[in-house]
Amino acid sequence: MTVTITTMAVAVLLCAPFAAGCWSLLIRTSRQLHLVNLGSMGLLVAAEILIARTVLTQGAVTAFDEMVYIDALSSMILFIIGIVGLACSLYMRSYMDEQVARGTVAPNRLNLFFFLFHMFLLAMVLATVANSLGVQWVAIEATTLATTFLIAFWRRRESLEAGWKYLILCSVGISLALFGVVLMYYSSLRVLGDVSSALNITQLQAIATQLDAHILKLAFVFLFVGYGTKVGLVPMHSWLPDAYAEAPAPVAAMLAGVLETVAVYAILRSRGIVDQAVSPEFSGSLLALFGLVSFSIAALFLLLQHNYKRMLAYSSIEHMGLAMVGFGVGGPIGIFGGLFHLVNHAFAKSLAFFAAGNIHQRYKTVEIGEVHGVASVMPGSALALLVAGLALAALPPFALFASEMQIVTALGTSGLPGGWGSRGVSGSILLLLLCSLVAFAALLYRITGMVWGAAPAAVTRGEPWSTGHLSLVLLGLLLVGLCWVLPSPLRQLLDMASALLGGG
């Protein structure tokens, strides 16, 4: 019985965004668009909850002739997609209407926007639930295609440039990942013979120990560079600040909050297979090394920013780097911390982008130097920005503090994978702390400068309550709450997921 319900839930998961996307093309009024959007998102979240329950009670779920495979890790990612997606839909209710009202978006282009948005969502869900690494690849490439136009939605010169760079860099990266998938297939075929299920995660996990280490190493390098481009790890990150800065706020929130997470998920998935054949030190040191480099370079780049959306983009790179360090270091605390960090970062970053979007609408500039006194102009958004900023700076009582502490502790106890020795550990901890200090100072200097101070006279004051604020409240409460309490389903989910990744 439950199996069928779960299958239906999976069907809903995939159909809801698809149907909503197609429907969006046919609707005239923006009101209906939002209704469809919220409705499909509600269905999505409900389906996710159902699936997560099943996963918690009965373990991994497969459906549709093993085309779909959902375990704790994927349902955790689904959880992030659901929450951030829901918040995003709520936020778009006020944001897009305001854009239409101000004439920046022609009402008919709204259909396209929602269509693409749903396709983007569909692709991400598909990437998360697909059992086949090949389908996963197709879905992730599809996210690139769906979002290029979303990024360049304003059609300004800069947004076109950002969109083009995004398209080219990510497509190239993803192509490399495809080569990785091919290699993966190549190795599994040698064990299984010519079976069309040879790319399935379930199959691969079963035979992982028999796979050839050499091929898997090469495959992992390709996959890592490919999906790492999507995650935005230095030095494959170059598209990221441009894209985030130019994308409309809800899109940026989805990119930063969810897409990165899905890409990390793709890396973790293949890592789970590779680690069984190759010593985990190989993938671990790769992850930790790129994590550390991303973290430090992004922290330094944060100092240079004068566009607040770009600044948030660099902060994404920084946090993804940190999560990678957690995964790379491994151990129960490290992996748990990494996953937890992914969750928290998704919430914090989307909250930050929502607030930034509101500010952008009101101040009509993305220059940090021209934004002052948000606190007196729009208290709600100011609070959201402050909360997000403090959370991103990893201050308590926000959840990122907890996950960052877990990662640092893991680094301190387990040390770097590979032969780095104790000096490497203390060196990396010092680097981590120093760079986090730099990031902290850079981020909060900008954000406090925006929030406080006297507002420019030209900016109208006051912030009436709107649906969009619901999303701010939701994410803010989550950020604060997760620092103190992890609800037991979520805790179980995280525990199971980290067990899957070898952090038993």
């Binding site: 090949g134 440039e161 190239v172 192509s175 080569f179 190549y186 091929i215």
Partner: protein
């Protein structure tokens, strides 16, 4: 056909792969954009032929479908789109290059060697039929990648990207006798859409920047 022993088959597949590689070099050496497009179409046809050969030799049915799609999409549709774009944009040659032709050719040669070097440990396990194709596929991917770096016009970059895709397809066909069909179809769909989107983009870039020279796209920095 009795003369088509596995050994001969393997040699034929190798020949096809090498033809693909040679067209790659030709694209690297070619400055005229329309010629590049033609070469790409030619390469795609070679690819389809190789794939058909593999399909025939191994009796894998779905590779026929993939081969047919390759001819249709990469041999006709995409080159057509690209020619349109070139006509509309009124650019015919790649005037300035980041790396000049002789150097590019040398580097590409080095890349081929690198590809063989990298794949050597795993090639030995390979099927007799496709021993070298994996290495050649990697070489084509790397050359495509390098061409994207070396050339400035958006159209050339697009062609180079498609060359990479061809390399990937060769790898998939040669090394693994084709991916599962659904994956193949998905990949094709993605490539097609990507090419179309890029085509649309070049138009918009032309409108916004009066150029498809991607080196002009450097307003966003830091």
């Amino acid at each position: 056909m009795p003369w088509l022993t596995p050994h001969v088959g393997a040699q034929l597949v190798d020949l096809g792969s090498v033809m693909l590689l040679l067209t790659c070099f030709a694209i690297v050496a070619q400055r005229r954009l329309s010629a590049c497009v033609d070469l790409f179409a030619l390469q795609s046809v070679f690819l389809a032929m190789t794939a058909t050969l593999v399909a025939f030799l191994t009796g894998t049915r779905h590779i026929y479908i993939a081969a047919a799609l390759t001819v249709a999409v990469k041999g006709f549709v995409i080159p057509r789109v690209l020619r349109r774009v070139i006509e509309r944009l009124n650019v015919t040659r790649e005037l300035v290059m980041n790396v000049n032709v002789p150097a590019s050719l040398l580097i590409c040669g080095a890349l081929v060697m690198t590809a063989f070097f990298i794949t050597r440990p795993i090639i030995s396990f390979g099927h007799l039929l496709t021993r070298n194709s994996l290495a050649i596929a990697l070489a084509i991917v790397l050359i495509g990648f390098f061409t994207m770096i070396a050339r400035q016009k958006a159209v050339t970059q697009l062609i180079a990207f498609l060359v990479m895709e061809n390399g990937l397809f060769l790898g998939a066909t040669a090394a693994t006798y084709g991916m599962p069909l659904i994956v193949e179809l998905g990949v094709f769909f993605d490539v097609l859409v990507a090419a179309l989107i890029a085509g649309i983009y070049t138009n918009r870039l032309q409108d916004a920047f009066d150029s498809v020279d991607t080196s002009r796209l450097s307003e966003l920095k830091e």
